[in-house]
């Protein structure tokens, strides 16, 4: 096991930031920590890294207890924080070299690693630039390069894509996949469910410092009752018909707003066929029709009763 967190409790005064948080990260996975802003993701990361004091709980990395001076553990970790943390006075190359030098003493070996990292994030042409001269997206890439240059076994990325343009975001996400393919275990926190869905092999959903669900995305979606959502454009629909639709099999709720009929189904089969048959039977003409599978947002909504995004 790469990371083991057991019953972690962290309080800020009266506020309970982490409430008996437990999860495990296995070797080779891309582990997603998903939750809205303020759910405790960053606090959990900082506790794992032994930067923060916590009130209760156990943290193990690589099957060894984590401590501030557990340098043999720290050597195998790469950290990319939410905020860009580089030196304004050092160039792109010097920044990566500096942070890498904290892990790798050998100068020759380091040179190769820094070049590799530069190449990896696509900043080769910018090696002599000072961070101030880089655009937001490039700065993020530098931030990542500083964290991964020493080829860690475990890479922790805390919201690395906040306020990043789509192009850089894709570059970053592809990079993470490649790192994982090269053998690194990844912990990835985000409040963007699409990213987590696209990237992570296993996901823990957090809210108010607690784990509310965990598993692969398929498992998570399987946990909820919602099977699919079907939306139909209809110009006129009587309340009689609406009530009849409500009684169709598997239907859990029906809404008709602004000429759009939205139907939520519990898990079941042939929902669309049944609906189309119903329209034909009652001679209801309709426009566009489409069906959606549940998203992680729906999972979150069903468990907590609120949207993931604020």
């Amino acid at each position: 096991m790469i990371v083991g967190v057991k019953n972690l409790v962290k309080r800020y005064g009266d506020l309970v930031a982490l409430d008996h948080l437990s999860f495990n990260v296995k070797e080779g996975e891309i582990f997603g920590l998903l939750g809205p802003n303020g759910s405790g993701k960053t606090t959990a990361i900082n506790c794992i890294l032994s930067l923060l004091n916590y009130d209760k709980g156990e943290i193990e990395l690589f099957d060894k207890p984590m401590a501030p001076d557990a340098y043999d553990i720290k050597r195998d970790i790469g950290v990319i924080m939410q905020d860009v943390a580089v030196f304004d006075e050092l160039t792109v190359y010097e920044n990566i070299d500096y942070f890498c030098s904290l892990y790798v003493r050998d100068r020759e070996k380091r040179r190769g690693l820094v070049e590799e990292a530069l190449d990896f994030v696509g900043l080769k042409d910018f090696r002599k630039f000072y961070p101030k001269k880089l655009s937001g997206g490039l700065l993020r890439r530098l931030n990542i390069a500083c964290g991964i240059a020493h080829k860690p076994r475990l890479i922790i990325l805390d919201e690395p894509t906040v306020a990043v343009d789509p192009q850089s975001r894709n570059n970053i996400l592809d990079g993470i996949k490649r790192l994982n393919e090269d053998g690194a275990t990844i912990i990835y926190t985000s409040h963007y469910m699409e990213e987590v869905e696209q990237l992570c092999s296993r996901i823990v959903i957090m809210d108010k410092g607690r784990v509310i669900a965990s598993g692969s995305k398929e498992e998570l979606k399987g946990m909820i009752k919602l099977g699919e959502k079907i939306s139909v454009e209809i110009f006129g629909l009587s309340s009689v018909h609406i009530n009849q639709i409500k009684n169709l099999p598997n239907v859990s709720s029906v809404e008709y707003i602004d000429k759009t009929l939205s139907i939520k189904y519990n898990k079941g089969k042939n929902n669309l066929t049944t609906l189309l048959d119903f329209f034909r039977e009652h001679d209801i003409s309709f426009g566009r029709i489409y069906s959606e599978l549940p998203t992680l947002n729906d999972v979150f909504l069903e468990i907590t009763g609120k949207e993931l995004r604020d």
Partner: protein
């Protein structure tokens, strides 16, 4: 690894333009201003020839003795090692005398008569000297009369000759070996002391960059397999090197370009610079570690405390250091800027090193104390809050 961190910190410091401006360029500019503004300050104390006028009237024309007396004081005064004429005398009409006084061309004019009258526009040393000299004329006349009354024979025994024999009764001696101390050096000493203490900004920067609750960079550093104190000591050492190099540049400028006298005990001077920089850097480290306010607030604290300390050491008003030493001596032993200044002063002015050792010793103690307290604070490796 230590060397590598040291080298990187060196780069970070040297490339921080505003830091270099305030710790190097600003003191250089200030030194230039001081030099330009104070170059004449010592000279301004010196007596310049006083312009006076004598009203040309019948009594004046008649009295040869008085004329002689006036002439005598238009020449070098006795016992003065330099060619200082006391007065520059013009004999003019009363109207002209009034006009000259109105236009500030003379300090005063004398109307000879019984009694002698001096007309001036304001009080001051020049006017007082005119008065004293002309007092002397009436007084000598009075003395002669008293003597003749007492010993009528004196007139025959050379009293008249004696009267003309004005002797000097003072002899200039030196206290200590330093002749003619130049008061303006104190301004430059406080300036150096202030620059040493600006080293505090280096200390501030170094601690900010290793304390995870102060900066994001530091959080990254804390996740790395390096002992924090190793990074800090490499950083502080880099700060000390830069600070010391800057002081050497400033010192070189003061000594070789502005020709400020520091005495010639180079070893002691360097020791003082080193301790000054070290105390400044450790003070900055302490301020940075001791509170969690923003960097702007800490910079403000440093600027205000350094300025206040420099003020008390006499940077804005040279006599301030002496006043503090007279009335609140404890304060001058607490104030590191005053200690650095006073150590330079002691080297420049005293023949013994006692005072220098007291000053530098205290600086050393403060440096150690600042470092220890800083260590106690940052020794903690986890934070309650980031």
């Amino acid at each position: 690894m230590f060397l590598n961190i040291f080298y990187n910190r060196l780069k970070c410091i040297v490339r921080d333009k505003s830091l270099i401006f305030w710790t190097l360029v600003f003191p250089l500019i200030l030194a230039t201003f001081f030099n330009m503004a104070f170059s004449n300050l010592s000279k301004s104390e010196a007596l310049k020839v006083v312009d006076i006028a004598i009203v040309d009237n019948a009594q004046y024309q008649r009295d040869k003795a008085f004329q002689n007396f006036v002439e005598q004081h238009s020449k070098d005064i006795p016992d003065s090692e330099k060619d200082i004429h006391l007065f520059n005398v013009r004999v003019v009409s009363p109207e002209e005398a009034d006009r000259l006084l109105d236009n500030n061309e003379i300090a005063g004019y004398v109307t000879y008569g019984e009694p002698i009258r001096l007309t001036v526009k304001s009080s001051g040393f020049n006017q007082t000297i005119i008065k004293e000299i002309f007092d002397q004329y009436s007084q000598t006349v009075s003395t002669a009369m008293s003597i003749v009354k007492r010993e009528p024979a004196a007139l025959q025994n050379g009293l008249a000759e004696d009267l003309g024999n004005i002797a000097g009764f003072t002899r200039e001696v030196q206290i200590g070996t330093k002749d003619k101390p130049d008061i303006t050096v104190n301004y430059f000493y406080t300036l150096i002391a202030m620059s040493c203490f600006y080293g505090a900004f280096f200390g501030l920067k170094e601690v900010t960059d290793i304390q995870a609750n102060l900066s994001k960079r530091a959080a990254r550093l804390n996740a790395a397999p390096v002992h924090k104190l190793k990074v800090l000591s490499a950083g502080l050492f880099a700060g000390l090197m830069v600070s010391l190099a800057e002081i050497m540049l400033l010192m070189g400028y003061l000594v070789f370009v502005l020709k400020i006298d520091f005495g010639n005990q180079i070893g002691f001077i360097l020791l003082n610079c080193l301790l000054g920089c070290a105390s400044g850097i450790s003070f900055g480290a302490l301020i940075s570690a001791a509170n969690k306010k923003s960097e702007g607030v800490k910079t403000a604290i440093l600027i205000v405390s350094t300025m206040a300390a420099a003020f008390l050491a006499g940077m804005m008003f040279d006599r301030m250091k002496y006043i503090i030493q007279q009335y609140v001596p404890a304060l001058s032993y607490i104030n590191p800027v005053a200690l650095i200044t006073d150590a330079f002063y002691a080297l420049y002015y005293y023949d013994t090193h006692t005072r220098f050792y007291i000053n530098t010793g205290l600086l050393g103690i403060y440096t150690v104390v600042f470092c220890l307290v800083t260590y106690m604070i940052i020794r903690r490796q986890k934070y309650d809050n980031i």
